[in-house]
């Protein structure tokens, strides 16, 4: 593994993606954009998982589930989440005619 890209680079990249996703979730008001930001966070975690799987040594008693399998499972979950999310956003859009999360404010307090 001597000529590989160092592990740290992957971790920095993942941390940067995570930060971008988090900022997106907090600042974007468009529901679709929020959904995209969530996906970015999930993918940052995926990069971490795969990088740790590639570079780390599995601990004793760690079981058969390596990070790369978990990453595939996460991709599946993310797809399910997007399907549900888009459905919910569409439902809201049909009622309010906007996709702005700040406008959905029937309830508060």
């Amino acid at each position: 593994m001597n000529n590989d890209i160092p592990l740290n680079w992957f971790l920095y990249f993942a941390a940067a993606s995570f930060a971008i996703g988090l900022v997106g979730v907090l600042l974007r008001r468009n529901a679709i954009a929020v959904l995209m930001a969530i996906e970015i966070i999930l993918n940052a975690a995926n990069v971490n998982l795969v990088a740790f799987w590639r570079y780390g040594t599995p601990a004793p008693g760690s079981g058969p589930l390596p990070g790369v399998i978990l990453a595939i499972l996460v991709i599946t979950v993310a797809a399910a989440e997007v399907a549900v999310g888009i459905g919910l956003i569409l439902l809201c859009y049909r009622r309010w005619r906007v996709a702005d999360v700040d406008r959905y404010d029937t309830m508060s307090g």
Binding site: I41, C92, G109
Partner: protein, 563 residues
């Protein structure tokens, strides 16, 4: 590095029989609804699909009870098991309490007890869901309720972070959809989207924390994580100077904080509970909360135990200090915000946030306790009583929505004269939520707080004593808003349309919840003992095959990521 996976033991499938039955039965419900029941009229269809779903829950309940019986038999008389089930299966069941599916799930009596609890609650929620017409898609609605329960069962049985994440998602994705199920009302749709956004952001944060833990420990299994974290942090106990560990811990705490609606992360809860149809809100507030708290207990009390607190200072870097602060803020904020609510379900939402605070006191106590399982058992007892009290209260909310199409506290006016029996039940439930003896809620709080006061070293005790004092003060505050419900029922004249008879769909959950709260309030000891015995296996490493000999070969990650 090709991993050599050990072969899967197919007998493991017997152990997940309740969850597997439910998962399949969800399909049966959907297909029957699609194929047969659509030809019936709306009323008949609701009845048929509701009965069908209940039948499935009954089947799962039978298998859960059978497993419980086998597991308790394994403790006393393994020979009998071999006679009953044959050599192969008998031997398998005699090794009760081991991890199954290559270490993904726990098994044993504690899992069976929780499964039983979920199934009873689910049966009541399904009853409640068929009590009034909030949707026309009964098949989908009940199937989603059932599948969410499958997620809860796996979540509280998970012994490994990947399984935990998957089952968490399985549970919450079903609940997002259910929250938005009353498509004709704006509030329901809005609640669904809000719940979805908060929930999926929190899962994403949790997953990032999980990936860091995986990097630090090189494994996702709780017992291995605990061993490795304990091995690396001998020089600097806790999290001093461990940036990656600290961020992993914080992110996982934030993720769980959202799920159990602890205070900085609670914004979704009141909206989701108010907007969701009452049966769904009941299931979020009971089932999802129990499952999340059990998972929180297992992750933090078991896997992340080496990170709990530095040995000399409970409030030092580590998760116990954070939990202590969060619990103080949560119970205070939840109770103060509940005081000004006029909507019954919203008030219950804030009350459930406050109860989350009391539960976190118990968690902090269990972490510093010399007798962790006892403290965790008190916590489980609290959760059972909390779940039934809230389920009954939400059943009354469903009743209000059905007959008065509103769920304000004022809609309860005059219920005491109109429906004396059920009003009395609701009064008992409210008193139990305040924590008035002799109801279950009192003993729940008593045991949790007593375990918190029951600690050894004086330094940690001071903080816990403060937390308990704050908890008692908060219980007093909470009396004000629960008593408003009693006042509305008994001292105000009826306003609005009269309540029609509750019928069994609503009366059963209310009566049964009250029965549980009263019976386990008068005789708390059996349930407390049961819960203590259930909590024991949750907090220790339960795998028999874990190799301990080799020093943990920590991956290169801790050093690299800590820089």
């Amino acid at each position: 590095m090709p991993p050599t996976a050990p072969p899967l033991d197919f007998r493991d499938f017997w152990r997940i029989a309740p969850a597997a039955t439910l998962a399949l039965w969800g399909l049966v419900v959907v297909l029957t609804d699609l194929g047969l029941a659509r030809r019936l009229g709306l009323e008949a269809r609701r009845r048929v699909v509701g009965r069908l779903a209940l039948a499935g829950v009954g089947l799962a309940l039978i298998s859960a009870v059978a497993l419980f019986w086998l597991d308790s038999l394994a403790a006393v008389d393994p020979e009998r098991l071999r006679q009953l089930l044959g050599a192969s299966l008998g031997d398998y069941f005699a090794r009760s309490g081991e991890v199954i599916f290559l270490g993904a799930l726990a098994s044993g009596v504690s899992v069976d007890i929780l499964n039983f609890l979920y199934l009873i609650l689910l049966a009541l929620v399904i009853q409640l869901a068929t009590s009034y017409r909030f949707t026309d898609d009964w098949g989908e609605c009940l199937a989603l309720l059932i599948w969410a329960t499958v997620g809860m069962m796996f979540l509280s049985a998970a012994e490994e972070l990947a399984t935990l994440f998957l089952s968490l998602e399985m549970m919450t994705i079903c609940l997002y959809l259910l929250t938005a199920f009353e498509k004709s009302r704006r509030r329901s749709v809005e609640a669904g989207l809000k719940y979805f956004i908060y929930g999926s952001v929190s899962s994403a944060l949790f997953l990032y924390g999980l990936s860091l833990v995986y990097g630090l420990a090189g494994t996702t299994r709780f017992d291995a994580i605990e061993r490795i974290l304990a091995g690396t942090s001998t020089t600097a106990p806790g999290l001093v100077g461990n940036l990656a560990g600290a961020s992993a811990l914080l992110l996982m705490l934030v993720g769980f904080g959202f799920k159990i609606a602890a205070v900085p992360f609670h914004q979704w809860a009141p909206d989701a509970y108010e907007g969701a149809p009452a049966p769904v809100a009941a299931w979020i507030v009971t089932g999802s909360k129990i499952a999340s708290i059990v998972a929180l207990m297992k992750v933090f009390l078991h896997a992340a135990r080496p990170w709990s607190f530095p040995s000399n200072d409970m409030m030092g870097p580590g998760w116990v200090g954070i939990i202590a602060v969060v619990s103080a803020v949560t119970m205070t904020y939840g109770n103060l915000a509940a005081l000004v609510q006029t909507n019954f379900k919203r008030m219950l939402a804030y009350s459930s946030i406050a109860h989350g605070g009391y539960i976190l006191v118990g968690l902090a106590a269990a972490a510093v306790s010399i007798n962790g399982p006892a403290a965790a058992g008190a916590l489980l007892y609290y959760l059972v009583i909390y779940a039934f009290s809230n389920l009954g209260a939400f059943a009354v909310a469903a009743w209000l929505v059905r007959d008065r199409s509103a769920d304000e506290i004022d809609d309860l006016n005059g219920m005491g004269a109109e429906r004396p029996l059920l009003a009395l039940c609701l009064a008992f439930l409210m008193l139990s939520l305040i924590g008035v003896p002799p109801f279950g809620g009192f003993f729940g709080k008593l045991y949790v707080f007593m375990e918190a006061l029951n600690q050894g070293p004086s330094q940690t005790r001071i903080i816990l004593v403060w937390l308990v004092a704050l908890g008692l003060l908060n219980s007093a505050i909470s009396a004000f808003y629960y008593v408003r419900v009693l006042k509305a029922m008994y001292f105000r004249p009826r306003s609005g349309a009269g309540l029609k008879p509750a019928k069994s769909a609503i009366a059963t959950p209310v009566l049964l919840s009250t029965l549980v709260v009263v019976v386990f309030g008068l005789f708390p000891q059996p349930l407390v003992d049961l819960m203590k015995s259930a909590a024991g296996p949750m907090l220790v490493s339960s795998s028999a095959d874990a190799p301990i000999s080799a020093p943990p070969a920590v991956s290169t990650a801790p050093g690299a990521a800590a820089r």
